[in-house]
């Protein structure tokens, strides 16, 4: 097998029966765990939200590892490089949007600060939106 300098093997896609079963089992457990946490609802809301987001990210890694076999990619890891860059852009877009919108009074988070709810009342009045 000759190796060219930009040899990107289609190793994403190769796997063993065992790796697919493990990935499937772990994904099932993580999904059901998140579901039970929410349905049970006995813990504080913020704890539940943080926990289910952590569970979703864990499942992301499980599927990248066991279904997409990202760890088994050969040396110049172009697939991983592209993924990391996408993750950076995704992070900027999502966190940036939330951060900016949180600072605008458009965000209707009824916290201790009165201004967001005031703002939503003004918006409702200004835009002639019927309740």
């Amino acid at each position: 097998m000759s190796k060219s300098s930009i040899d990107i093997k289609p190793e994403v896609g190769h796997g063993s029966f065992k790796s697919y079963v493990t990935g499937f089992g772990l994904s099932l457990v993580l999904t059901l765990l998140a579901y039970i946490l929410v349905v049970d609802g006995s813990r504080p809301a913020n704890t539940i939200i943080a926990a289910i987001i952590v569970l979703a990210v864990m499942q992301l890694f499980v599927q990248l590892y066991f279904f997409l076999h990202l760890a088994r990619e050969s040396k110049p890891r172009w697939n991983l490089t592209a993924l990391l860059f996408a993750a950076l852009v995704v992070g900027i877009v999502v966190i940036g949007s939330l951060w900016i919108m949180r600072n605008l009074n458009y965000s209707h988070q009824h916290g201790n600060d009165r201004s967001p709810s005031d703002a939503s009342r003004y918006i409702v009045e200004d835009e002639l939106i019927k309740n």
Binding site: S2, I8, G15, Y20, L28, Y35, V38, F67, A82, S107
Partner: protein, 202 residues
């Protein structure tokens, strides 16, 4: 003598292999850009999540057990898609068609559940025009559903090609890309399930 005769064939094969690798890598890059599309829709949804102006929020609209069934169906289809790829690497054509057939049926089941949910919501007057929250919801989940539909059409075309030509280089390359696409859509769904449905119900 025999070496020189074999050499060109080997080079041609490895060149073809390299080209396949590049095509698959190109498809992977497409998936990464699709990630960014979904990220912007997720960000929009997160911002508009509470913009209901007194209209029903996700908590009142969504049925969690229903969505859990959808999630498990899609997860299982991702798994059977993996089993189909294992069969493809063993060159077991009958199994490839069987497992992709199962994946296809699970995909159809998922899509019909999603459309049932959509039509139910629209029927009750909670369509995308009602609030910012519902606009963002239909855009995000609808875009995922559109991807699933595309994946199902692709699956039909590819199964016909495999039945006709067998597991040759070109169909193997397309199978690899389709399986990447399908696993990718399942990963996107994990986040829709978590951010849209579970966080909405907390």
């Amino acid at each position: 003598m025999s070496n020189t005769a074999v050499q060109p064939v080997e080079t041609a094969q490895s060149m073809e292999h390299d080209n396949d690798s590049k095509t698959i890598f190109g498809f992977w890059v497409y998936l990464m850009t699709d990630c960014v599309v979904f990220a912007s829709l997720f960000a929009t949804f997160a911002v508009l999540r509470t913009s209901t102006f007194g209209d029903p929020s996700g908590n009142e609209l969504f049925s969690l057990p229903f969505v859990l069934v959808e999630t498990l169906i899609l997860l299982t289809s991702s798994f059977t898609c993996g089993l189909a790829m294992l069969a493809a690497h063993r060159k077991d054509q009958a199994k490839v068609i069987a497992w992709f057939g199962v994946t296809f049926l699970l995909g159809i089941a998922f899509l019909s559940l999603e459309l049932t949910e959509f039509s139910h919501l629209a029927h009750e007057g909670n369509s995308w025009t009602r609030s910012g929250f519902l606009s963002a919801f239909f855009t995000l989940v609808g875009t995922h559903g559109l991807h699933i539909t595309t994946g199902l059409l692709w699956m039909i075309v590819l199964l016909v090609q495999i039945a006709k030509r067998g597991l040759v280089t070109s169909t193997m390359r397309r199978l690899t890309m389709l399986s990447l696409f399908w696993h990718f859509l399942d990963i996107i769904w994990i986040f829709i399930f978590t951010i849209v449905y579970l966080v909405g119900a907390v």
